[in-house]
């Protein structure tokens, strides 16, 4: 979902950033298992990384805010598995499988783990020219889809400058819905802090987002 609590940029009230000295990779064993299950199930090809993000954004607001990071991941994974009929609520209650598993497109073996330790390739070929070039003034659209998007609320209906063209990439708004890659040109668009936050904001602060072409109009 788009306008949910995950879209936090610019919110007030969460307090200081508190860093933990010598923080370990995981604070409990289960956190590492959640990360590993998430990666292993991602490898199966049953869903895209954007569908995974969308499942976290769809958590009830109090679950989202009240859960640690890996608990959110766990709840999202469990919901995806249940929603696709890959496991049953009765099996979760039993703590065991009660039926045969569904066939998977592929399964991650220990020998193949190296493959998921390398980030995926999100660039896609296109025969469409990029609509914008470096230095162009652009205005972000005012969109509020009920489904996944990567245009944060704080950067909607704002005017910025195209700083770089990053290539043509998988479009998350489509990939999250499982309707294909729908590749789109991706740009780094920079905004002054006063454009984002009003005249009282620091004039020596600039914030950029990575913006897909369907988020942008010429300004």
């Amino acid at each position: 979902m788009t306008n949910s609590l995950h879209d936090m940029g610019g919110m007030h009230g969460f307090g200081r950033v508190e860093a933990e000295p010598d923080e370990p990779p995981f604070h409990a064993r289960w956190e590492g298992r959640v990360l590993a299950m998430q990666r292993a199930m991602g490898f199966t090809g049953l869903w895209t990384i954007d569908a995974g993000r969308a499942s976290l954004e769809a958590l009830p607001p109090l679950d989202y805010l009240g859960s640690s990071y890996y608990r959110r991941w766990f709840l999202g994974l469990e919901n995806r598995l249940l929603g696709r009929g890959l496991i049953g609520a009765d099996e979760i209650a039993a703590g065991h499988s009660l039926r045969d598993g569904a066939p998977l497109p592929r399964k991650l073996t220990a020998a193949e783990v190296g493959k998921i330790l390398l980030r995926g390739e999100f660039a896609r070929p296109t025969n469409q020219p990029a609509r914008f070039k470096k230095g162009d003034r652009v205005r972000t659209r005012n969109i509020n889809p009920a489904t996944h998007t990567r245009l944060p609320r704080y950067a909607r209906a704002r005017t910025g400058i195209v700083e770089a063209i990053r290539g043509c990439h998988v479009f998350p708004d489509a990939a999250a819905l499982g309707i294909g890659d729908n590749p789109q040109w991706l740009y780094t668009v920079a905004f002054t802090a006063p454009e984002l936050w009003g005249a009282a904001a620091d004039h020596d602060v600039t914030v950029s987002i990575e913006a897909f072409e369907p988020y942008l109009d010429p300004a």
């Binding site: 995950h6 940029g9 919110m11 007030h12 969460f14 307090g15 950033v17 508190e18 860093a19 933990e20 990779p25 604070h27 409990a28 064993r29 289960w30 298992r33 990360l35 590993a36 299950m37 292993a40 199930m41 993000r53 976290l56 640690s68 990071y69 766990f74 994974l77 469990e78 496991i87 979760i92 703590g95 065991h96 499988s97 045969d100 399964k107 991650l108 220990a110 783990v113 998921i116 330790l117 390398l118 980030r119 390739e121 660039a123 704080y154 990053r166 290539g167 998988v170 998350p172 984002l196 904001a201 620091d202 020596d204 602060v205 600039t206 914030v207 950029s208 987002i209 990575e210 913006a211």
Partner: protein, 213 residues
């Protein structure tokens, strides 16, 4: 102690720990019995993140950029290609972008929407990077965030915040500290902290390193 972190808003509480232990074990059992996951593969993933993938990879990249102008040129042009030319213990995937701190500009990286992070070169993101305080404030109050980390910058320096809203990933190249002329790449790498490559810190000064040793 793993279950004793109560100072952060984003940490699990003791009750969550026992609840999650049981729920995660149950889910892993079900997925294994159904043939969806191989527990040996899960072990391998956890081990990689605990032992091989971490900020030492990023520190090597930065130290090389400080000492080798040709490498730095390649890094700024295509950070993925440049990083992989170093033969790091773990390869780096596509779309890594290096952004350089200068006397005029300080860079800060955030993901306001989730937790996008260049984990191949920095390891898993720390809890604070994924927390609501950082994600909410980095874009509206970056100077306040830097103050939380005790970072003091000259008053006339511009702040540039990068919100990682796509699959591009950003690695900050901090400024090389003075007093390190003639240092080896290995020695310089020890000055490059994880936070200095996110932008919430600066590279250590030579005297700080001596103090640690």
């Amino acid at each position: 102690m793993p279950d004793d972190h109560t100072h952060s808003h984003d940490h699990q509480h003791g009750s969550e720990l026992s609840e999650m232990d049981a729920r995660v074990k149950a889910l892993e059992t079900i997925l294994t019995e159904k043939g969806y996951v191989d527990p040996a593969a899960l072990d391998e993933i956890v081990e990689a993140f605990e032992t091989r993938i971490g900020p030492k990879n990023g520190a090597r990249i930065v130290a090389r950029a400080w000492t080798d102008p040709e490498f730095k040129r390649r890094l700024m042009a295509d950070a993925t290609e440049a990083a992989n030319s170093l033969g790091l213990v773990s390869r780096v995937g596509s779309h890594l972008i290096a952004v350089e701190n200068t006397p005029e500009t300080h860079n800060l990286v955030v993901c306001t929407l989730c937790s996008c992070y260049p984990w191949e070169v920095l390891g898993l993101p720390p809890v604070w990077y994924k927390s609501a305080p950082y994600r909410s404030r980095a874009v509206i109050d970056p100077k306040g965030v830097l103050a939380d980390f005790g970072v003091r910058l000259p008053p006339d320096i511009a702040i540039r915040v990068w919100d990682s809203t796509a699959e591009t990933r950003f690695l900050v190249v901090p400024m090389r500290p003075g007093g390190t002329e003639g240092w080896s790449e290995e020695r310089l790498a020890e000055l490059v902290t994880r936070d200095s490559m996110i932008g919430t810190g600066l590279a250590k000064l030579p005297q700080q390193q001596v103090a640690v040793e």
